[in-house]
């Protein structure tokens, strides 16, 4: 059971701007109706025909009052874009909660998954249900918000373990079995593949462990002085002979500028590796992915460019846990990038994706050592 975030609700939440308001709508449900809604273990919001919250149940109310009446559900949930007008921004067009509401207006109860980022930077996955009810001659929607973040995390981890790790482990095992029936003088390349596979497996599991620790707030950084260009070259060399480089090239920009800074090499390498992998998978065939770095004031900036341009639907959901263009349950990449960079390295991740320039991810980390997780 999850109560609303403290920054999301209060006694004097202002109504969201944008859209029409039926100022005459008053939730008529009393007594038994509200008692039943209050008894629910998850936040329930009743919204009117204008999508305005007219009742919030006990779990949704942090202050015990009716202060949540008036805004839209994005305001109540503390969505980071609600301040621009819940339901009016481009992000709202791909919001699972709004999708559930739109579908429920058709008359049937619906359920959708909503990946939300709060103003405080938390990433929450909700299973949103929207159920139309008719009370006193008026149509209302009862919207439930079940926090499924833990289940979402487990689903992603399960996929990473049960698919990605097993996929590679099956390959290594198969090669080991084949080696046993291969003449000794022909085992050379098999041995090389087995070794590289075992090494990749170890790295894959270690990367997942790092992300899990980061999500729990238990990641401890190992800080030391690093050279930006040397770090970039180290990441680039990991992709030598990689499958993703068969039809694409990975290069370091000629104007990449070196510089010394203090950070965690393992975590920053993991961040850059994920961005490079995503760029290589997104880049059109025959094109080049370019890595760059250089100082910018009191920060070191790393850039990963690929000529492809992402759709608005992808870009708006890019850093949400669980979202992936690579299939259900796979999406730890950019979410982990943002988590590790911003919460642990005290840096910033940005993306610009537009024709004809392509897509550039920028990772900005401070020159000085981060002093601990942000926001914990």
């Amino acid at each position: 059971m999850t109560a609303m975030r403290e920054d999301a609700v209060g006694a004097t939440v202002e109504p969201a701007t944008g859209g029409s308001r039926s100022s005459e709508s008053t939730w008529p449900g009393t007594g038994l109706a509200e008692a039943l809604l209050d008894a629910a273990p998850i936040p329930l919001l009743v919204i009117d025909a204008d999508d305005t919250v007219r009742f919030a149940n006990r779990v949704a109310r942090l202050d015990g009052g009716r202060g949540t009446v008036g805004p839209r559900f994005g305001d109540v949930l503390g969505c980071e874009v609600a301040g621009q007008g819940c339901g009016t921004t481009p992000t709202c067009a791909v919001c699972g909660a709004w999708k559930a509401v739109r579908l429920a207006r058709g008359g049937d109860a619906t359920a959708e998954e909503c990946r939300l980022r709060t103003r405080g930077g938390d990433s929450i996955s909700y299973r949103v249900t929207a159920t139309p009810v008719d009370v006193a001659g008026e149509r209302w929607l009862v919207c439930g918000f079940l926090d499924v973040s833990v289940a979402c995390r487990h689903r992603i981890l399960e996929h990473a373990v049960f698919h990605d790790v097993m996929n590679l482990a099956s390959g290594v095992r198969g090669l080991s079995e084949l080696r046993a029936t291969t003449p000794v003088e022909q085992r050379g390349d098999l041995d090389t593949l087995i070794e590289s596979g075992a090494s990749a497996l170890t790295n894959m599991i270690q990367d997942q462990r790092t992300v899990v620790l980061a999500e729990r707030g238990g990641l401890e950084l190992s800080l030391k002085e690093l050279d930006a260009r040397a770090l970039l070259e180290s990441v680039r060399s990991e992709f030598d002979g990689h499958e993703l480089c068969r039809q694409r090239r990975l290069v370091i920009a000629g104007d990449a500028v070196s510089g010394r800074f203090i950070s965690d090499k393992t975590v920053l390498s993991l961040v850059l590796r994920h961005l490079v992998r995503n760029a290589m998978e997104a880049a059109p065939r025959g094109t080049v992915v370019t890595l760059g770095c250089g100082p910018d004031g009191r920060a070191m900036v790393f850039r990963v460019h690929n000529p492809g341009v992402m759709s608005d639907v992808v870009r708006l959901q890019l850093f949400h846990r669980g979202f992936s263009t690579r299939g259900e349950g796979r999406g730890i990449g950019t979410y982990a990038v943002k988590l590790l960079t911003e919460r642990f390295l005290r840096g910033k991740v940005d993306v610009v994706s537009e024709e004809p320039h392509g897509t550039v991810f920028s990772v900005r980390v401070p020159h000085a050592a981060p002093s601990g997780p942000r926001g914990e």
Binding site: G171, G174, L178, L190, L193, G197, E243, L244, R285
Partner: protein
């Protein structure tokens, strides 16, 4: 005159898996004419080489195995495409079979089990 070997393409984004299948297939005296690392290559190589069988992973970058299967079957209705998957009980596997895949093979099988599957697919009685 020697018999013409049956021709195969392997498509999987994991190099170790491709190598396992290549060795198993070649030990059955079959010819691997190409290896693809993503769905785009799989379709391209199929058009170019028109193998007897394409073994294709379901989960690949740039174009999924399901997408590649549909594209190949639309152009080559007689194509024999066997899907490779880590898990059997998924909607994706079911859709692929319904779309016309000749079957599927679990990648977690032992080498001997993979060999038996390849023999069944290729209609070979045993290694020659």
């Amino acid at each position: 005159m020697g018999a013409i070997r049956k021709r195969v393409i392997i498509a999987d984004d994991e190099a170790h898996i491709r190598r396992v299948f290549r060795d198993v297939i070649e030990r059955e005296n079959l010819e691997v004419v190409a290896e693809a690392a993503d769905g785009e290559e799989a379709v391209e190589f199929y058009r170019r080489d028109k193998p007897d069988v394409l073994f294709m992973d379901i989960n690949m970058p740039h174009k999924t195995g399901e997408e590649g299967l549909k594209e190949i079957l639309a152009e080559f209705p007689e194509a024999r495409v066997v899907m490779l998957t880590m898990v059997a009980d998924t909607d994706t596997v079911r859709r692929c079979v319904e779309a016309g895949a000749a079957g599927y093979i679990l990648k977690s099988l032992s080498v001997n089990e993979l060999r038996d599957c390849v023999r069944e697919v290729m209609g070979v009685a045993g290694s020659s």
